[in-house]
Amino acid sequence: MAQNGSNNVKLLGTWGSPFALRAQVALHLKSVEHEYTEEADVLKSKSDLLVKSNPIHKKVPVLIHGDVSICESLNIVQYVDEAWPSKPSILPSLPQDRAFARFWAHFVDGKCFESIDAVAGAKDDAARMALAGNLMECLTALEEAFQKSSKGGDFFGGENIGFVDIACGGIVGPLSVIEAFSGVKFLSPEATPGLVQWADKFRAHEAVKPYMPNVAEFIEFAKKKFNV
């Protein structure tokens, strides 16, 4: 059973991973001292530690707290919120608000990432344009959720960063890459004014900035990875 405080905290991640980013932001928000280990080639050559601590999925991120490990990024974020219950809280306190936050986080992991991956993997321009429509629908839904949830603040969480911001933050990098490669602006002041401003504020947040590569770095990385 995990205990707080002096137990060693280690995060296994990989550069540019939108999922590892979520864990890093959560740990930073809670001021949890931890050791970060980079899985250098997580697709082709997984470390023994990764396979041992995440035998089911063998994916990053994995949070190792003392002698237990926690897998799946949104699960890690909730765990960090609960294991280090001091403020700031990541999830809201009212059940209705928590359900709203979980719903949109799930939506990002499901429909959003699916449509981003589909656009990124499209065979040709015609296919890409068709798939782009799905992605636009997702972002329109997110924009509405943002307007409702932010209540005039900078974030989905209102004045402060919260669970949906952290979940959604994962799409900022991948979106900027497909925007650069396709020439299509998925986040725009006309269609998604709230999200455009939110993305800037998120990137600049002190719990995010140290961990999130900038747009140019993401694009370089994608070029190398996909041989463009």
């Binding site: 237990v68 699960n75 294991a83």
Partner: protein, 219 residues
């Protein structure tokens, strides 16, 4: 204000079953409304515009969508009895992990046992048994997934049991012989009134799947 709880659901849905069980575990009075999925009600479309799926829990007029989220919501609102999630953060993370595993793996693969043929079917059967064996191994010698108490992961999985005979009939496999410990767990869960009341007769589910197969031209 009196609690008004409505559940928009579809009787064979293993996801709807989760919410039914959770509500009964907490002793919550609710109005069950059957949806015709080929003719969705305006209320369903209004309350779940993004996914347009059941189950939808409507509590005092406000919707909660997605069965796992509904179960957590029910646990938090009616926190006075029968806790569904454990209180320790690590145990909670484990519960969420396994419910998520069930969500990601069981439905899609099991569906193939009655919608595919030939090599695709054989691959799906193999994968389903592996998934169920993984769950069986996680259960170990415990009475329930969370230990001594019935909880979140049990609720996430038990509804699928009503579809097992359909997977077995149309996929030509035997879950009982491959995963006997899992079937012991099933029997234990069925002893619970909240579960027995919330699950349909598996024979009826198999008849329903046979109809679906005819409708999809699979027969």
């Amino acid at each position: 204000m009196a609690n008004e709880v409505i559940l928009l659901d579809f009787w064979p849905s293993m996801f709807g079953m989760r919410t039914r069980i959770a509500l009964r575990e907490k002793g919550v009075e609710f109005e069950y409304r059957e949806e015709d999925l080929r003719n969705k009600s305006p209320l369903l479309l209004q309350m779940n515009p993004i996914h347009k799926k059941i189950p939808v829990l409507i509590h005092n007029g406000k919707p909660v969508c997605e069965s796992s989220i509904q179960v957590q919501y029910i646990d938090e609102v009616w926190s006075h009895k029968n806790p569904i999630l454990p209180s320790d953060p690590y145990q909670r993370a484990q519960a969420r992990f396994w419910a998520d595993f069930i969500d990601k793996k069981v439905y899609d693969v099991s569906r193939k046992t009655w919608t595919t043929k030939g090599e695709e079917l054989e691959a799906a059967k193999k994968e389903l048994i592996e998934i169920l064996k993984t769950l069986e191994s996680e259960l170990g010698d415990k009475p329930y997934f969370g230990g001594d108490e019935f909880g979140y992961v049990d609720i996430a999985l038990i509804g699928f049991y009503t579809w097992f005979p359909a997977y077995e009939k149309f996929g030509n496999l035997s879950i009982e012989s491959e995963c006997p410990k899992l079937m012991v767990w099933v029997k234990k869960c069925l002893e619970r009134e909240t579960v027995a009341k919330s699950l349909p007769d598996p024979h009826k589910v198999t008849e329903f799947v046979a109809e679906l197969r005819k409708r999809f031209g699979l027969e």
